[in-house]
């Protein structure tokens, strides 16, 4: 499997296979990841190919999965743990926050915790309750935890390889709404992408649109429509939420003078707030209009029948951009 058009989900599988192949220390663990290949099939075929010592079905216990991973990682393994849905990531928090994030710091570098915690997240697939939330901000707030979110097959491949090779703990959140949304060519060349940079997906001069994960799709669609109206959008995929590459964002907004931040997670204390604060600190004099946020509201993610009422859409972005363009102080 290489060099042909694949989905984001295939790209995750491809990167996992590559990592297992190139490094005997890489071990996959999680619920239903073996014979079943994961409930989304992200690990499909990997147990058959690499054996049950490398691709391990665990007992049903997320605290255990995270705690085991911490211990394994301190001994030089590179555990890549799957949490079946982000809604079930909370039991891992004690281990991720109280241990994984600070192992290097506490031991002044004697030990480290090179583990990856993968989880699908976000709404839009008609899933049952607790299967659709976006709580990336909770994790991005923790010093020592890297939080990475791909938004295309190529970035899923390159960023996941980077996450696995990284010497720090990484939470790798996979936007499941776009798991199978489109196929693009991904070369299985083993090349990782950097974890310290945003990705500028499209250059533009009038306004900067900043997003990540599944909302990148709506953002790009909006940018196309706005181009037809004569509005030139720069589109940036933040990709790594912590530690975040503020420099790219500040440079872009300093150039365009305007910005709309788009995320599915709730508005309050979301990553958009962090980005806006930094822009107000570092790009205020360049701003021609107040930065805007298009986000989920500060309510509980609705059950599936009403999830579209919650999820931001292309129109929401168009309106925010047009209003920002029309702003005259």
């Amino acid at each position: 499997m290489s060099d042909h058009a694949i989905t984001l989900l295939d790209a995750v599988n491809l990167a996992l296979a590559r990592a297992l192949d190139e490094d005997p220390n890489v071990v996959l663990l999680g619920e239903d990841i073996g014979t079943n290949g994961g409930v989304f099939r992200a690990t499909d075929g990997l147990k058959a190919r690499f054996g049950e010592r490398r691709v391990i079905d665990t007992p049903l216990a997320e605290t255990m999965i995270a705690g085991l991973s911490v211990g394994m990682a301190t001994q030089g393994l590179r555990p890549v743990a799957e949490i079946q849905f982000m809604g079930f990531i909370f039991p891992t928090m004690e281990h991720m926050i109280a241990h994984a994030a600070r192992m290097r710091h506490r031991t002044r570098g004697r030990l480290s915790c090179p583990m990856v915690l993968r989880a699908p997240f976000g709404g839009g697939i008609h899933a049952p309750e607790h299967h659709s939330e976006s709580t990336e901000t909770l994790l991005a707030h923790i010093p020592g935890l890297r939080v990475v979110i791909p938004s295309s097959p190529a970035r899923a491949y390159g960023l996941l390889l980077a996450a696995i090779r990284c010497d720090d703990p990484v939470v790798f959140l996979e936007p499941k709404r776009i798991y199978r949304a489109s196929k693009t060519l991904v070369e299985d060349n083993g090349e990782a992408l950097p974890l310290d940079t945003c990705f500028t997906l499209r250059e533009g001069s009038d306004i900067t649109l900043i997003s990540w994960g599944a909302m990148i799709s709506e953002t790009l669609t909006a940018a196309d429509r706005l181009a037809d109206e004569g509005i030139s959008c720069e589109v940036i995929d933040v990709a790594t939420l912590n530690p975040i590459d503020h420099a790219t964002l500040v440079a872009s907004v300093s150039k365009t003078g305007r910005c709309v931040i788009i995320h599915e997670a709730p508005h309050h204390a979301g990553m958009g707030a962090e980005i806006e604060a930094t822009l107000s600190e570092q790009a205020l004099t360049y701003l021609q209009a107040p930065p805007r946020r298009v986000t989920g509201d500060d309510t509980i993610m609705p059950y599936y029948r009403y999830e579209q009422l919650y999820l931001p859409d292309v129109d929401d972005i168009l309106i925010a951009v047009r209003e920002t363009m029309e702003y005259s102080g």
Binding site: V39, P59, L60, P91, H130, D298, L309
Partner: protein, 366 residues
């Protein structure tokens, strides 16, 4: 010198064999038609509900659904033995319990149709809503039991969990505190042998899950979860002990998940088909029917009539479900806090406008 500090044993209760033939002389309390005919009727209703729910999901009229196929006896007997003022703390596979506790079939369809109002029905009294994050319900059940105990209420709490869920800390913490505080709670393990694709044997090396009770110092036992008579005795006694202040019980009900894990799952990827076939030969509904037949308490005519009646009930419930108008946008905001805070009211206002815009076809049609 060594001495034995503790020795435990786990009892398994069964009265009917796989085909519904008594394994020995039936106890006196098992004679007569009550409650067995009612149990049977409820089990048939539960199975028909299940079939309908799956077909609604398959035809896009309902969301992902967790079938209870194979667990009908466990659910029906547990719920039937509960008193109205006992408290049910369910997991996500307890539709028949909820139905017997007063939730209408329509409400059940509504919940699985992705609508919060499915958990709002007043007939659920103080029962907790479905619990999806595995094993967390066990601790809530202990909290509910603590409330009952502190208030001096002589009622019981019943909660259920899957075999996989018993691997989670929450479950072990729950049985531990239930023992330490002698809480009036009954834990039922629906051991259907699978946790999605992970078989029972990979969860825990102990030969029974009931023996986890021994570590918590509480009563633990196994029961044939496809045998309504055995369940009736074992669960009934546990509930009575709880109400009488005699402490918690852990009951491992041995059964089998005859369905896929949910409608989103495909069990053929991981489960041997001969195992499933063998399990069908032990299933609870036919087993009880055979026993009722042999006692002259049920016959083909009653079967036909009841099947028709339940089909009608379910058709009516589906129609009622489909006729329920959608929630308003406001309902997404009104229940987050006791009172809607200022910022959220503003978002609610914007959401109304947005909803209108969407109904009118988006920004280009303004």
């Amino acid at each position: 010198m060594h001495e034995i500090s503790y020795q435990g044993e786990i009892r398994l209760t069964r009265y009917l064999d796989d085909q519904g033939v008594p394994l020995g002389e039936m106890p006196k309390w098992a004679c007569g038609d009550s409650p067995w005919v009612t149990y049977y009727q409820q089990m048939v209703l539960a199975r028909q509900f299940d079939t309908k729910a799956i077909s609604l999901q398959r035809t896009g009229q309902m969301g992902t659904y967790a079938s209870l196929l194979g667990a009908e006896a466990i659910d029906v007997v547990c719920a039937s033995l509960m008193q109205p003022d006992d408290v049910l703390v369910p997991y996500y596979r307890n539709h028949a319990m909820q139905m017997i506790r007063g939730m209408s079939l329509t409400q059940l369809f509504l919940y699985w149709g992705g609508d919060e109002r499915g958990s709002a029905t007043p007939e659920m009294r103080r029962d907790l809503p479905n619990c999806v994050p595995i094993a967390t319900q066990c601790l809530h059940a202990c909290g509910v039991a603590t409330a009952l105990k502190l208030r001096g209420e002589h009622q019981a709490v019943l909660t259920m969990i899957g075999d996989g869920g018993t691997s989670k800390g929450d479950f072990l913490e729950a049985i531990n505190v239930a023992g330490a505080w002698q809480l009036p709670v009954v834990f039922i393990i629906n051991n259907n042998q699978w946790a999605i694709s992970v078989p029972r044997s990979k969860q825990c090396i102990a030969p029974t899950l009931a023996q986890k009770a021994l570590g918590a110092g509480i009563r633990g036992e196994q029961v044939d979860g496809n045998d309504a008579v055995a369940l009736h005795e074992v669960v009934g006694q546990a509930l009575e002990r709880a109400r009488a202040g005699k402490g918690p019980t852990l009951i491992e009900a041995l059964s089998y998940r005859l369905s896929d894990h949910t409608t989103a799952d495909d069990a053929t990827r991981y489960r041997p088909s001969d195992e499933l076939k063998a399990a069908w030969a032990r299933e609870p509904v036919a087993r009880l029917r055979n026993w009722l037949h042999s006692q002259g308490l049920w016959d083909e005519a009653r079967e036909q009539a009841w099947q028709a009646e339940t089909r009608q009930m379910i058709e009516d419930a589906v129609k009622a479900y489909q006729a329920i108008p959608p929630q308003t946008v406001d309902e997404l905001y009104d229940y987050v806090y006791a009172e809607c805070p200022a910022g959220l009211s503003e978002q609610r206002e914007q959401a109304r406008i947005r909803q209108q815009r969407r109904e009118q076809g988006g920004t280009d049609h303004e």
